[in-house]
Every structure is written in C-alpha cells, then in structure tokens.
Amino acid sequence: MTGSTAVPQHPEFLWRNPEPKPSYDVVVVGGGGHGLATAYYLAKNHGITNVAVLEKGWLAGGNMARNTTIIRSNYLWDESSAIYEHSLKLWEGLEEDLGYPILFSQRGVLNLAHSLQDVRDSVRRVNANRLNGVDAEWVDAAGVKEICPIVNISPDVRYPVLGATYQPRGGIAKHDYVAWGFARRADELGIDLIQNCAVTGLDVIGGKVVGVRTTRGDIATGKVALAAAGHSSVLASMVGLRLPIQSHPLQALVSELLEPVHPTVVMSNAVHVYVSQAHKGELVMGAGIDSFNGYGQRGAFHIIERQMSAALELFPIFARAHLLRTWAGVVDTTPDASPIVGLTPIENLYLNCGWGTGGFKATPGVGWCFAHTVAHDKPHPYNAPFALERFTSGALVDEHGAAAVAH
C-alpha cells in the first residue's frame, strides 16, 4: 500500500437533485464556486434559505472545474488586498466550516521577477502588502532556489530570475472539493441546487427584477444574483444591461502523476508560467489567455506550446514530463483586471463578475461579500470599491500595473 497519492474520501451524501419550485426569495444564477459560496453564506450569515442556485450544466463545471487553484492575497492595491485577504482568512477556516476535506495547502506562492522593473514592482507590492497586513516578503534568487529548488536561477537563461515575492500563506486547494463542500452545506441548509437549468430570460417589471425564465420553467423571485463568470454579458444583455466585460478562452493543462519535485506555487509574469504540483503528484499549469473573444471553452494550441517553452525555461527538469490533458475556461476580463461586484441599475438584480483569471482564490471571500450585498441591498465594505460605477468615475482598481500575474 503506497497510499501517498490517495485523497480523502468524499462524504456519502452531497446534495439532493430537487425540482425547481415556482418561487424563491433569491435566485442565484450560476452554480460555480462563487454562486455556491454566495448561496451558502446567504443561508449561514443572513438566514436566507429559500434560495435556488441555477446551473445550466453540472455544478461547478465551468471555471471552477478548470482553474489552476492558486490562492493568494498579495495584490497591490488596498481595495484588492482587502477582499482577497478576507478570502484568504476564510480559506484558513474553510475546511472546518464546511466539514469537508478541501485539501487547502498553504505551501506558499512565489511571484518571480525577471527585470529590474519587475524587482521594483515586486518590492513595491511586498511593502504595500505588509502595511495592509498581508504576509509578503522579497526573496532574492538564492532565496527562490531555497524555497523551490527546481527553479533554474542560472544567470544564463534568457530572462534570469532576479528574485521573487513570496507569500507563505498562499497555496492551493482542490477545486472540486471546495465547490462540493459549499454545495453540500448549502443543500443541508435547504437551498435548492438545480442543475441542467439554463436561464433564458429575466423578467423585469417597473425597473425591478421579479422572475427568471429557465429551460426548466419560470421561477418567480424576489432577488436575482448573477454569478456566471464568462457568461455574465449574455445574461446581462437579457435585461439590456451592458457590462465592461470581454470573455476569453483561458487554457490550462496537467501532467501525469510525478514524485514530488515542486513544493510551492511559482508564478512568473515575464516568462509566463504558473505552476504547482497537486496533491496526487500531477503538475498543474496555466497558459496565457487567448486574445480573442470566445465562449467555446477552447483556445489555440500555440498558446500551449508557448506555455511549455516558458515552463522549461524556468523548470528544465520538466522536459520529459508529459501533457495528459488540456482544457479551457471562459474568463470574464475587465478593463482594470478587477472584478465587478455590487448593485445594478435594475432593482434587486445583483452582479458578481469580471474576476478574469483570478476568481478561484476569491471564492469564499466573494461569496461572503456578495451574499451580504444581496441580503442588505447594499455592498459589503470589501466589495464597495468594485462597483460598476467606477468605470464612469474613473476610480479604477487597476491591477494591470501591479506586476503580479492576475491568477
């Protein structure tokens, strides 16, 4: 019995498969991580349990099933680090809270710097993180090697590693288990999780949303919370709402199971890599975003090839690892690489989208804040800066300039 790659057993029961009721107090559109977490916190924090989560496919089958599970909170701006750090704190108690083994592993996250400007940006971010109460440190190339011995820190590579920011509390978790943990608790609390139920229309009367039309019938509701990631624009357009969002394919890939070689998470912006070794032993790696708009959950192969070149630059040891599977999600990108969470011009319609490539790490945090927003018809202080209006006022939370890859 080797046992070392075994993962914990799942619970014997996860969720019911109920028929939709004619009406709910709140309908959450999108049964991904964010939608499920929102439903859970609606019930847990606000006592709102007459809730349906509508999922057009299978629960957590969108970006939740397709991301590279990196968790960190070392964002540059105060607004970002606040909501991500709130999320990270929730991650730290989530396994217990959900009663589900989510394999949350705080193995640390390295963000590499490859140019002098990368170094400046990194030091800036580390200092900002520290003053915001987020654990962060700057490590030089030798320090990178100490944390992750397989990183090639030779000065002879095309873009040598000059150092990195390191967040020890960052890490990874098992995405499916996280979603299922939220789903199971939400189900226990009486929330209906309804799969294979696509929303085909939103009923608005007098500027107020009152119902949802679905492939499984019409549902009356007091409030609608949209949590549909890459499909948000399509849903919003049903009520004539335009969003500053573009949906792009984002690909990721996985190798075979390998003996442990990679103890942490390494991300690099210049040599575009983000990689970790999952619990069972497979290398999990994200590729660059495909440039074009696409809903097809597939990207172009030259993006994967480029990704492999980048990976081998930093990790020559990966040369004969094998690609077993590639896939793509649909990511909802915003002009400032920050999300949109809050109220909409339509009464009782709430919006959570625009997380782009970084939504997984925010799952508990945004669920908490979005539930608050829906319950109180008012944003939680952590998501107040992420209102739709910021694009009009110009008060963007521009994380492009923050040097960290936004995953």
Binding site: M1, W58, L258, E305, S309, P316, R320, R325
Partner: protein, 955 residues
C-alpha cells in the same frame, strides 16, 4: 517458452538486450517493451497507485491502462505505457507504482516542429485509412497519412498477416506518389479549429542510445488540412468483475496481437471471456498456436460458425456463463465462473491468461475535439460519430472504419474509399473510389451483448472500500466508487469522474470512461444516451513538455535584440540589463587599482561625474523610432500626442507625451520634424512595438482619411547621445563642418552633418540636463561613428555610460521614466506636466478622460522628489510612503511609493522620486518611507533637484 519460433513481425535474427526492474532480458526488433516482457514470461509490470496491487499488461497499444513504466536509459522519462515503447538495445526500465520520476539532469535531446498543409489528412493507416489515402492520392490530391505505429496496417497488424501484401503495395504506391506524405510513429493528438491537427512524431526513440545527437528526437507536426478523414479504429473494452486487475488479465484483441504480431503466446491455458463474436477469432488462433483455450460467453445463442470453429480446434465453450472473479497473486491462476445472469452454479477454472472482450469503443477523440456530435448506439454499446445529420457533423471532418462503428473488414475498406471520395467532392475534385482488395467472409456479423460489469448487487450506499471490481485500474477506482458517487447524489458523468477520478489517469479513460457511465446509467436506471460521455480533450495520447517547447528555448525562447554597437560594449566590459527584448549596457565597470572590478555604485558615480563635469556617451539605439510621413502627418500627431506637433518647424525637435484613451500616460519621447511631411518619433525602448501598433490602429481604423504612413525605423538608426559640458568640443572635432555654437545650433533643434564622413542627424536634446548632442546615423555605420566619437573624445576623457547612469542623470532633473515612475494609472498632470497637455486642441487621444471625476480629485498622486533626512540612506525603489511612522495598527494608510532612488554625486547624497497623494501640496513636509520594516524619514521636494533653472543645457 512463450515466444513462438515462427511468425510475427519481429526480427528473430537480431537480439536486443534490455533490463526491466533490474533484471536482464532479451527481445527482438519489432517488439514493444510489453511484448518482450511477455515473451520472457513477465506479466507483472507495475504496482497500483493507492492499493499497491500487482498490475500487468492489459492491452497492446495506447489504450493501456495498467502497464506503466519509467524509462531509465538512455535518459529517464516518466510514465510511459510498456505497450507503446519500441524495444531497443540497452533499454532500462522499471515498473511504476503509479507515479513517474523526473530526471535530475538536463534533457540533451533536441525537439522541433514543422508545418504541413494538405488537401486531405488521413489519421490512421489501417484498412479504412489506407483506402482513403489511396483514393485521395490517385485523385492527385496532396495527402498526409499519419499513423502511430512504426508500420502501416492498423488492426491488420494483429492478424495472421491478413492483406499484408496489399498493405505493402499500397504503402509503396503512396510513398512513391508526389504530394503524398506518410508519417509513421506519428500520433495525431489534437484537433483544433479549421482543420488544424497536431501530431507527435517519435523520430529516434526506437533507436535508444544509437539515436544520432543531431536529429530531433521528436517532432510536432502542425498539420493544416482542408479535409480530415479520421480512420482511428476502435479500442476493445473489458467487462468488469472482481479482481479483474490481476496480471494475466488482458483484452482479447491484445492477446491476439501479441500472438500474431509479436510471436508471443501469452498463456498456455487461456480463458476467453467475451460478450461478442470478435474475440472468437482470437480464441481460435490461440488454440491453433497450441494453447488450451476455453471460451466463456454469457450469451446462449452462439454463432454457428464460431461454435463449429471452436469445436474444430478443441475449444471448450461455456455459453450462458460469465467470469465473476480471478485467483492468483502476481499472475492470474484461475477464474471463478458462474451462470449468467443468475450467478448460480459457480465453479473455478484454472488458467494462466484471461482474455476479455466487452465490445469496442470507436476512437472518436479527435472527432469529438472537433466538436463532432456523438450519439449512443445501444446495440454496440458505444458512442458513435453522428454523420449526415444537418448541423451534427463538422465541416471538413469525416470518420470512417471502426471509428465510425463499422465492424466488418470489407465495410472498413469500402468506407475509407467512400469517405475520401466525399471529402474530395467537397474540394471540388471528382474521384473514383479505389477497388478494395478481396477479403474473406466476415464472421463477426452481429452485435454482442452490452455488459459493463458482470451483474452485481446495485447498492447506492456502496461503501465497500475493499471492492476489487476495477473500472479504472490506474486510479484504483472500482464499481463501488461509481455507486458511491451515484449514492452521494451525483447525476452527471463529469461529477462521477471527479468523485472517483475515473478517466483522469495516463490513458485518460480510453477503456474505463464508458464503463463508468454504463454502470452509472444502470444504477440510476437512466438512458445512457441521456447521460452522455465526459469530454474528450487534447492530447489523445501523452506528449512530452519538451516536444511542445520545441526549439523555442534558451536564447531563442524570446529573440535577443542587440544594437549595432553591441560588440563594442562587450569588448569594453559592459554589464548588461534586459530591457524588453534588448540587451542594454547597465554600466561599464572598470578595473580598480586593486585589480578587481568596480561595483555598480562606483561605476555609476564615475560615469555620472563624467557626464556632469566632462563628457560621456550612451548607446541609445534601442529607443523606438517611428518614421511618420504624409501630408496629414502633423494633424495625425496632433491627435495622438497631448501637445501640439503640427506647429513644429522642420529642423526642430519637441518633447511629447501620448496617453491612452483613459488619459493615462502611454509613452513619451521626442518628435523630430524632418520636413513638412515627415517626422521621426522616438519611443521608450520597451514600448516601441506597442506604440507603432497603437498609431497604426488609429491611422487605419479611426482616421483612414488622413494621408499618413508609419514605418518602424528603430533598427535603421544608431543613436548616440554625447553628453556633458565638454560635448561641444567632441562634436566639433568629429563634425568639423557643423557650427556647434548655441547661436547656430540651438536647444531642441537638429542638423544634418557629416560625422567621420558619415551623414548624420544631430539633435540638441538632453535627457540629463547637460549640454548634449544626440547623434543619429544609419545602423550600418553605428559602430564606426561610435568609435570615431569615442576617439575624438579621448582628450576630454569621454566616458561611455549605461542605463543606470542615464537613470540617475534624468532623475536628478526630475525627468520621469514611463513604466518606472508611472504604472498605467498616472496622467501628465500627475507628473506635473500640465504644460505638455494642450489647452488649445479641441481633442486628442485621452483628452476627454481628464475631466472625469476621478481625474479632478485634488488628492491624486503626484510625482515629487524625496530627500532622505539622512542623505546616506538609500531608499528602496518600491518603498511605501506613509505619514505616520507608527505602523503598529494595520492596515496603514499609504500615500504612495518610491518609484526611483539613487545615490547622486551631483546632489551629494541619496534622493528619490515618488508618487505621493497630494504630493505637490506636501512639498516641505516630512514623511516616511517604509521598506521591509524599516522607517526612513524623508523630506518632500519638487521633482527637479539639479539645475532647476535649466542653465546647463547650453553648456
């Protein structure tokens, strides 16, 4: 001895030595590692990942889910199927306990990629694929035929040489036809948009250590086909029963392939458990090869032909029975039988090989990747490509042969030709199907019994963790796991896959995926068609990272750009910095009196001193340069830049800033007017391509009415600023015909002049505040002119300087570097450069954004200077600026950050630039820079710290 003395496609005259799990063995060319192991009586190959159970060889191809090995020589490679490794001399391998091991040394092999375009791409060189390729080839089309095996034939390779003469003839014709490319050892692993197929060719793997060093080991083929014909065959699938994972339990077709292709009789007492007629031929051939064979078939209505054949060769047939379990440890020793479906009348039969067939799964991976729709065929128990229905197929993709569910050989041959004719018709080519070779009567005439697992108690609480009915051998996932998943409330095959991990291993569920769905459907009482399959995703078979990285590694991971003067910099000991793709000298350390090299601060102190007090020179050739021509060039630039350009006169130069639509600074540089209709712009080094793209986009899409043309001339000009109070003397010396006086050649003008006999453009511009002449010559002459200036400057102690000195000089003058002192959230006004924003122009890119609420806030961040109270303390670039040094309460309010920080000879101490909230209103205030726990008191000043009145620019 399990190796037969005759037969098969192996070369018995050559012996290959290899080692497995530390023991020496011998095999022959033509063997796979799996066949060679079986020939040596080795059945146990690996150990299962979670339960540590012995595992053997279950297949003869890429669908293998069990026999995973680690190659150790000639170079370590993790996790390969023993069934896909061609044997070579000196092979060293070991069985894997579920996880591979990466090499701890660099991979010496080379990899590359190649593009090919064709009319018709045929994937699979079995009977259907060969017919398709031949039909297309004879029609004169450009054809590529790829096949994963070292030789063509596909499923025929597992037969007793059936149609072997024909396949040889076809191969000869194909390879001799111009415009036809046959690629063996090449696995098509991904279908992407518009007929783009990726294939991996294993070029030298089969040579082992004898592989030539100069040949690419593996090659990625990027195939673009107008029509794709998938003749990818089918994978046999097993039936699940208890202890079905023992070594010696094998797919029936694999047993037949080992016999016929490799001359290996994998067992002497063989039990064949089949639900369909296809395994009977294996049983008969194995019996004829000398094995004692028993057939167990749950069906009671045996086909008369096969009943007679079995009788002829002495095979005992047990109709109406099933295998419920096995005995043995390292290898199967016996089989439990019982009546089907009741489970009664159980008995145990001895055997040393158990062959299983539960039917066939058409290999629809590429079709599915191409978004082809699949439909469940209840008779075959398989998902088949839907063809012929409107909207169901995929343009340009066809499936034929066993991959399309065709069972008979004759059907496959005819189908391949027919699909080629149809594909050619779509290309506007009229073609005739080639005549198929004669084949015998097909004896597999009816569909079998669809049986995923032998009947089991369906119990959704199924928490029996000792279950040994394995669905996915590699993941140690069982029937019980599937039932548990259903019991947990899961109704989607994708959820079941994730809950059980079935289908996520090296084989990606080629044999297990459908069985899991079938068990699930049976357990829930739902229709298999409604349940569907999990998604097929690339790659079809595993591909090494290195193969995909190809040649784009090391120095050519990203092109290295160097200036025309680069060799001089190297000769003179420059240290380099990566700026975008460019290599730029950071500084030129000199030998010290003690024989060592100056460190960066020492070199920079010396270089800055030279520029401020004598003369120094810089290679600024990396600056982006864009030539703008046309009668509307001035108008165009007025719309792009924040300031007015059209009023600039020929012979003059202007500093200019461009913003994005959002009003944030995008880039800055100088604009030189060459003539009424020609300008040359400079951009920052890293932004050159981005700025050209930006300008072209506007010129073409927003203002196509403007007559303007844009050309990158970055690489056409070498740019050499000659800087310092003594620069005039140096320029006068190299350009004797040029009047270098301030009166004749004023600041912000440019002149044409000969320098060292080379026609040059010389600009009186300065990024240091000192008197400076920027010399521009065609790159071809760059190094000659650089040397001439350097030589002419010797009497004045001319000093070459690098980017760090450039940065210090400009920072002392408060000149920002876009991208260092700005970060995409900074406006010209934030930098204190309202003067560069025209009030007169009606509009320019970004203007409207300046009047947004956020831009009008008085507390925006401003660029200011920071002087540490202790002028020996160097601020960290990236230090945060705070008002209150008490940081015990987090979070702390941050006012901004230090963007630039240097030691300055001219200022007699350290200084910095910073973006600080309401910074201009804080000039004279004492603030604090926080860096890694250290609090440094600083005074806020204006950004210009040196020669504020600008007296030095004229020397």
């Amino acid at each position: 001895m399990t190796r037969l003395t005759t037969g098969g496609l192996i070369d018995r005259t050559t012996v290959l030595s290899f080692s497995f799990d530390g023991r020496p063995y011998a095999g022959h060319p033509g063997d796979t590692l799996a066949s060679a192991l079986l020939a040596n009586g080795v059945h146990r190959v690996a150990t299962s990942v979670n339960r540590g159970r012995p595992r053997g060889i279950m297949a003869a191809g890429v669908e293998e889910a069990s026999a995973l090995v680690q190659l150790e020589a000639p170079f370590p490679e993790p996790m390969l199927s023993a069934t896909t490794i061609e044997l070579y001399e000196g092979l060293v391998a070991r069985g894997l306990p579920g996880r591979g091991k990466l090499a701890d040394r660099p991979d010496p092999a080379r990899y590359d990629a190649i593009h090919a375009h064709c009319d018709v791409l045929v994937v699979g060189a079995g009977p259907a694929g060969l017919m398709a390729a031949l039909t297309a080839a004879r029609a004169g089309s450009r054809v590529v035929l790829v096949d994963e095996q070292p030789m063509v034939g596909g499923s025929l390779l597992g037969t007793r040489g059936e149609l072997s003469d024909w396949t040889a003839t076809v191969l000869a014709e194909l390879t001799s036809t111009p415009e036809v490319l046959v690629l063996s050892r090449t696995t098509a692993f991904g279908y992407y948009d518009d007929g783009f197929v990726l294939a991996l060719q294993k070029r030298t793997d089969h040579l082992g250590a004898a592989a030539p060093d100069n040949a690419a080991r593996q090659r990625i083929w990027r195939l673009r086909a107008k029509q794709v014909i998938l003749a990818t065959g089918a994978h046999e699938r097993p039936v699940v029963f208890a202890d079905n994972d023992r070594p010696g339990v094998m797919l029936a077709q694999a047993g037949r392939t080992y016999l016929n292709r490799y001359g290996v009789l994998a067992g002497n007492r063989i039990l064949v458990f089949t639900t369909n007629d296809s395994a009977y031929v294996a049983a008969v051939e194995l019996a004829e090869a000398g094995a004692e064979v028993t057939v167990v078939d749950p069906r009671t209505d045996l086909a008369p032909f096969w009943a007679a054949e079995c009788a002829r060769v002495g095979i005992a047939v047990r109709p109406g029975h099933m295998v419920t379990g096995t005995t043995g440890e390292e290898r199967v020793t016996g089989v439990h039988l019982a009546a089907y479906p009741s489970g009664g009348a159980s008995a145990t039969v001895h055997c040393d090989l158990l062959l299983v067939s539960g039917g066939w799964n058409p290999t629809v991976h590429l079709f599915s990747q191409a978004r082809g729709k699949l439909e469940y065929d209840a008779e075959l128990g398989a998902f088949l490509p839907v063809a012929g229905l409107p909207g169901a197929g995929v343009v340009g993709v066809r499936v034929t042969g066993a991959a399309a569910g065709t069972v008979s050989l004759a059907g496959c041959l005819a189908g391949g030709a027919a699909e080629a004719v149809a594909a050619l018709r779509d290309l506007g080519v009229a073609a005739q199907p080639v005549a198929p070779p004669p084949v015998g009567t097909d004896r597999v005439e009816r569909a079998g019994l669809v049986l995923w697992t032998v009947p089991v108690e369906i119990s959704l609480d199924g928490s029996d963790l000792s279950d040994t009915r394995f669905v996915d051998l590699q993941r140690d996932a069982t029937v019980g796991d599937v039932l548990r998943a259903a019991g947990a409330g899961l109704r989607s095959v994708e959820h079941v896959k994730r809950y059980t991990t079935i289908g996520t291993a090296h084989d990606q569920g080629k044999t297990s995926g459908l069985i899991a769905s079938g068990i699930m459907a049976d357990a829930l009482g739902v229709d298999m068609a409604a349940l569907g399959t999990t998604t097929y995703r690339p790659p079809y078979a595993s591909v090494s990272f290195a193969a995909l990285a190809g040649r784009d590694r090391g120095a050519i991971f990203d092109p290295v750009r160097v200036t025309a003067i680069h060799s001089w910099h190297i000769e003179h000991g420059a240290q380099f910095e990566d700026v975008g793709q460019w290599k730029r000298p950071l500084c030129y350390p000199r030998r010290t009196a003690f024989g060592g090299l100056e460190d960066l601060p020492a070199a920079v102190a010396r270089e800055t001193r030279a520029a401020r007090t004598g003369v120094a020179m810089l290679d600024a050739s990396t600056l982006g340069k864009i030539n703008v021509q046309g009668v509307d060039a001035g108008e165009f630039l007025d719309r792009i830049y924040t300031n007015i350009i059209s009023t600039l006169k020929p012979g003059f130069v202007r500093y200019a800033v461009m913003c994005g639509m959002d009003g944030m600074i995008l880039d800055d540089g100088t604009v030189m007017r060459v003539s009424d209709t020609e300008f040359v712009l400079t951009t920052t080094t890293g932004n050159a391509a981005k700025v050209l793209d930006w300008l072209e986009e506007f010129a073409q899409t927003e203002w196509p009415d403007l007559r303007v043309h844009l050309t990158s001339v970055t690489e056409q000009w070498a740019t050499i600023p000659v800087v310092g109070p003594l620069s005039r003397q140096v320029i006068a010396a190299v350009a004797p015909a040029l009047d270098v006086s301030n009166e004749a050649f004023g600041f912000m003008t440019w002149r044409s002049a000969e320098i060292a006999g080379i026609e040059a453009r010389i600009c009186r511009i300065s990024f240091s505040g000192e008197l400076a002449y920027e010399v521009n010559v065609p790159s071809w002459y760059g190094i000659a002119v650089w040397q001439a200036v350097f030589d002419a400057g010797q009497p004045y102690g001319i000093t070459p300087y690098g980017t760090e000195t450039m940065h210090v000089l400009r920072a002392e003058k408060g000149y920002p570097i876009i991208g260092q002192d700005t970060d995409g959230t900074v406006t010209p006004q934030d930098l204190g450069m309202s003067w560069v924003v025209s009030k007169k122009k009606l509009d320019f890119v970004g203007k409207r954004s300046f009047s947004r609420a956020e831009n009008l806030r008085p507390d925006r961040k401003h660029l200011v200077g920071l002087l540490p109270v202790d002028r020996s303390v160097l601020l960290a670039e990236g230090a945060q600026v705070i008002a209150d040094p008490d940081v015990s309460q987090l979070p702390v309010v941050m006012l901004g950050h230090v963007t630039s920080s240097y030691r300055s000879v001219a200022l007699g101490g350290t200084f910095g630039l910073a973006l600080v909230r309401s910074g201009r209103d804080r000039i004279g205030e004492r603030l604090f820079a926080w860096q890694d726990g250290e609090v440094v008191p600083v005074m806020v000043t204006g950004p210009v710290l040196y020669d504020e009145e600008g007296a030095r620019r004229d020397g």
